[in-house]
């Protein structure tokens, strides 16, 4: 009898697991959603508290500091105005060339800025929870960017929050190109050593591409596959070496350390999502 008592928790666990295995997926999905939405308000409330903290810390700034900040912002706005005019000209040029050459046009996006609620970075995954979700029309697979380039893609959309899988996550692969080169290489995140910026693994790099710490190469999105717009900065390649089969090179891309400190991102919601 004491033996049975000892085995009782494990026996109960075995029965529970057996029931869990035969439980319909719909019930499991509903349970997951229930637990997630139970926790979501706690995270969102904490992020609002952080914003309030920032607000009150900003209130301690002197008037002189605010005047200087306003002056810097005015300069930035002026330069952005010029860039916008240039951007409109280039867009018209692209549209004209697409029509002339009968090229398929790149998908168009709507920019949806969102505050970061929580950073969830472990050895197994690297994710951000943001404060916008299905209520703002976010869709799974939409790319997310910040001032430094590509952040990742939306992997889960909930009622008022969404989860972004970062480019430093082992589960994220994409086709990237070296700046000034149009041959795609395979990019996979997931080298996240402690106290260092994240790195990613590169494969299928052509043999005639070189990169050294003295002359690093910029890696940008290729636009292939239609998920990410082309030309978004992904990382910097410092070393490349021949792969074991000798047909290609492999290497490492160092990702921007700002990825670990993001407090706001912009999700690019496709205006014409693929069916």
């Amino acid at each position: 009898m004491p033996r049975f008592d000892q085995a009782r928790p494990l026996l109960t666990l075995g029965i529970v697991l057996l029931v869990w295995l035969i439980l319909p997926t719909t019930i499991k999905r509903a349970t997951r959603l229930g637990f997630y939405e139970l926790q979501a308000p706690v995270d969102v409330a904490a992020s609002y508290a952080r914003d309030l903290q920032d607000f009150w810390s900003q209130k301690t700034r002197t008037k002189n500091e605010l005047i200087e900040a306003a002056r810097d912002l005015a300069r930035l706005n002026a330069s952005y105005e010029l860039r916008l005019q240039d951007d409109a000209r280039l867009r018209n040029e692209i549209a004209r060339l697409e029509e002339l050459l009968r090229l398929p046009s790149y998908g168009d996006f709507r920019a949806e800025p969102a505050r970061v609620v929580r950073r969830d970075f472990s050895a197994w995954w690297q994710r951000l929870v943001i404060r916008k979700g299905a209520n703002h029309g976010l869709t799974i697979g939409a790319p997310a960017i910040y001032s430094g380039g590509l952040v990742g893609r939306v992997s889960e959309v909930h009622a008022h929050t969404a989860v972004i899988e970062l480019i430093s996550s082992p589960g994220l692969r994409l086709a990237a190109v070296f700046d000034g080169d149009d041959r795609p290489v395979s990019f996979q995140g997931g080298v996240n050593a402690p106290l260092r910026p994240a790195e990613a693994v590169l494969e299928y790099v052509p043999l005639d591409v070189f990169a050294t710490p003295a002359s690093p190469r910029r890696l940008v999105t290729s636009g292939l596959g239609g998920v990410y717009p082309p030309g978004l900065f992904v990382g910097e390649v410092l070393t490349l070496e021949a792969s074991t089969d000798g047909l290609f090179k492999t290497g490492r891309a160092v990702l921007d350390p700002r990825l670990g400190r993001l407090s706001e991102v912009t999700v690019l919601v496709p205006l014409d999502p693929a069916p």
């Binding site: 928790p9 494990l10 529970v16 349970t31 904490a46 197994w124 050593a193 402690p194 350390p257």
Partner: protein, 176 residues
Amino acid sequence: MLRDSRQVLALLACAGILNAIIAQLNHALAPLALTISSPGLLIAFAALRLPAKTGLAVVLCSGLWLDATAPTPFGRQAALLGLAFGLLHNIARRLPREDALVGVVSALFTNLALFVLLAVMDLGVLPDSGAGALRLLADLIVSQVFTTLAGPWFLALQNGLLSLAGTPPHKGPRPV
């Protein structure tokens, strides 16, 4: 039955508080590429002080809560926590269960066992196992430091909340 449900709810509230604190700490630690996780703390009290059925319910619900926010198959962490609970519950009768030090040490060993188990199961999926192992080691050290510091407080919180709910854990030999 009512007593059991009150115990489960009180301990789930404690698990929610701990999860929220760990989530905020991880948010702050993200730029340093370090992560805290302390599943051992979710198990220790339930395995040492509660009857099997109530403890298992608490641990499985806490595991599902962790699963809901992780990109792993739903139920995996719950199953691992349940297994750890079963093993700890079995050896608990040979331990001075009401001692806070025993609770903290149990949580530390449970953390270690779960870290090792996850590393054995998943290390191969990382593109660089060496960097992954280094990261796991750093995470384990930070997590164990956190568990050691927060353990006594968390065990006292669980005990206090159960007393507040009018369902303090039994003293002396534990009911099965």
